[in-house]
């Protein structure tokens, strides 16, 4: 059974909690800005290693709703991080947001259970729609 995070943190957030994983501070800043304006609670990680730390920290184990993850990153890269999320936190939908349009990569990531594969630059509306869609899929999967 799922709890929506706003049941617990109604004051601080509206729609849910999103973890943005990207090595570029600019991307974390601008994606974070878009999502915060839309009422999401946003966490940031600069690489896969940090992302895994964050998802394993306290209430994030339960409260994280969506992960948006880059592929090319130092330390633990996106592919490795996503494999970890899929195996340890299968209920958390993952959206790939990458700078490199690669159909082979997209296919294999979607096969891994990634819900969306977005190529930068992506418009704010599309990004928000992808997050909404990801959360809906998660709800359906757990009905």
């Amino acid at each position: 059974m799922e709890f929506k995070s706003d049941l617990f943190f109604g004051a601080s957030t509206g729609n849910g909690r999103v973890l943005v994983v990207d090595d570029e501070p600019d991307i974390r800043k601008v994606v974070g800005m878009t999502l915060k304006k839309a009422g999401y609670d946003v966490l940031e990680a600069e690489n896969g290693e940090r992302a895994i730390e964050i998802i394993n920290t306290g209430e994030n184990r339960m409260m994280l709703d969506v992960v948006i993850c880059d592929i090319r990153m130092p330390k633990i890269n996106g592919i490795e991080a996503i494999a970890y999320f899929r195996s340890q936190y299968p209920r958390v939908p993952v959206i790939v947001l990458t700078g490199f349009p690669d159909t082979d990569m997209a296919t294999s990531m979607l096969r891994e259970g990634v819900v969306d594969y977005l190529v930068k630059p992506v418009e704010g509306e599309k990004l928000k729609a992808a997050v909404v869609r990801a959360m809906e899929q998660r709800e359906i999967a757990h009905l």
Binding site: D23, E24, D26, I27, K29, V30, V31, M33, T34, K37, R72, M73, P74, K75, N77, G99, F100, P101, D102, V119, K120, P121, V122, E123, G124
Partner: protein, 356 residues
């Protein structure tokens, strides 16, 4: 085991021993070509002008130099005498002095050979350019990453600006957009410079440290430097003489090879140093090293250990060709599992110019 390789010759049978007469442009070009061929041994080059360019080149290659053709052709077991002096009297002179079984290439035959050598040099230049362009294909991922990230920033900020009311934020975000545009256009400028055909201008003086930095920037587009620490150990101001575009390509090649050898991260060290006679450039990695069975072949054309479609096998071949053309040598030290270190030794242009 510490393995050193200065492209060990793979000789089958007895090499043809060649003497070159005439050390002008033709003789120099012949020397440059023939000394790279394993089945040929250039025993010496002669010219009555002690300042002929081919004589200097021969000294750099440790090939015997003579001011009198007679000294050279009568000795050393010469099998083939190549006369590119263009001097009609030379032919008679050779025939009188040579060993009976030595063959002679002279007159129009040597003229045709000289044309072939020039043609080969042109092909070499084409090959060089083709390899560079093939390499740029592998830049696609890096370029996409480096262009699409600032584009994401620009798009996100522009969308935000549509309803941003705070004038300070508007100014700050507009400035961020302008900066991102500048960064993006710099990428295109760097790559356009790099991909252009190497100009065949007269050799110029090239500051080595600046050229290495430029190559590092280009290589960053080609591959991910994640978890690679770059260490620079530069001596102040060493210069070499040559074609700057070609030297840039040499450095890009060595740097990308070094980074590719370090899949799991490591340290890339770029070092320069100068002595009175030489400028040394070293590109070292802490990667997987070169296995002993590959080592003798790394400078061979079309030799690659990369999967099909990933490498042309022309990278190090071109590196060596350019280095030789600049009168330098290249040497590799490698240890499997510990890393490789490529050292180029160039003649020191700065001190050479000061010499009388």
């Amino acid at each position: 085991m510490d393995v050193q390789a200065e492209t060990p010759p793979v000789r089958q049978g007895v090499p043809t021993k060649v003497a070159i007469l005439g050390a002008g442009r033709g003789g120099t070009a012949l020397l440059d070509l023939l000394h790279q061929i394993n089945t040929i041994e250039v025993v010496g080059i002669a010219d009555r002008d002690p300042r002929a360019p081919g004589l200097q080149r021969a000294r750099e290659l440790n090939i015997q130099v003579a001011l009198h053709a007679g000294d050279l052709i009568a000795n050393h077991g010469v099998n083939l005498i190549m006369d590119v002096t263009g001097d009609p009297e030379m032919e008679q002179y050779i025939r009188a002095r040579k060993r009976p079984d030595a063959e002679v290439l002279t007159g129009s035959a040597s003229r045709v050979l000289w044309e072939l050598v020039r043609y080969e040099a042109k092909l070499q230049a084409e090959l060089f350019h083709a390899e560079k362009l093939a390499g740029i294909g592998s830049f696609a991922a890096g370029i996409a990453h480096d262009i699409n990230n600032p584009l994401q920033l620009i798009l996100g900020l522009a969308e935000n600006l549509m309803d941003e009311r705070d004038p300070d934020l508007v100014r700050a975000q507009a400035r961020d957009i302008a900066e991102a545009v500048k960064r993006t256009s710099a990428i295109c400028r760097d790559l356009t410079t790099y991909s252009r055909r190497a100009t065949s201008l007269q050799p110029v003086t090239i500051p080595v440290n600046g050229k290495l930095d430029e190559a590092l920037k280009i290589a960053r587009y080609a591959l991910s430097f994640h978890d690679v620490t770059v260490v620079k150990r530069y001596d102040a101001g060493p210069v070499v003489t040559g074609n700057p575009d070609e030297l840039l390509h040499v450095f890009v090649n060595l740097i990308t090879n070094a980074v590719q050898a370090m899949d799991r991260g490591g340290t890339l060290t770029l070092a320069t140093s100068a002595t009175d006679s030489a400028v040394l450039v070293t590109v070292s990695d802490t990667g997987r090293g070169i296995p002993p069975d590959s080592l003798p072949r790394i400078f061979d054309p079309f030799y690659t250990t990369k999967p099909p479609g990933k490498g042309t096998g022309l990278g190090l071949y071109n590196v060596k060709a350019v280095v030789n053309m600049m009168h330098g040598t290249i040497q590799v030290d490698t240890r499997v599992g510990e890393g490789s270190s490529f050292t180029i030794t160039f003649p020191n242009s700065a001190t050479a110019e000061k010499r009388p």
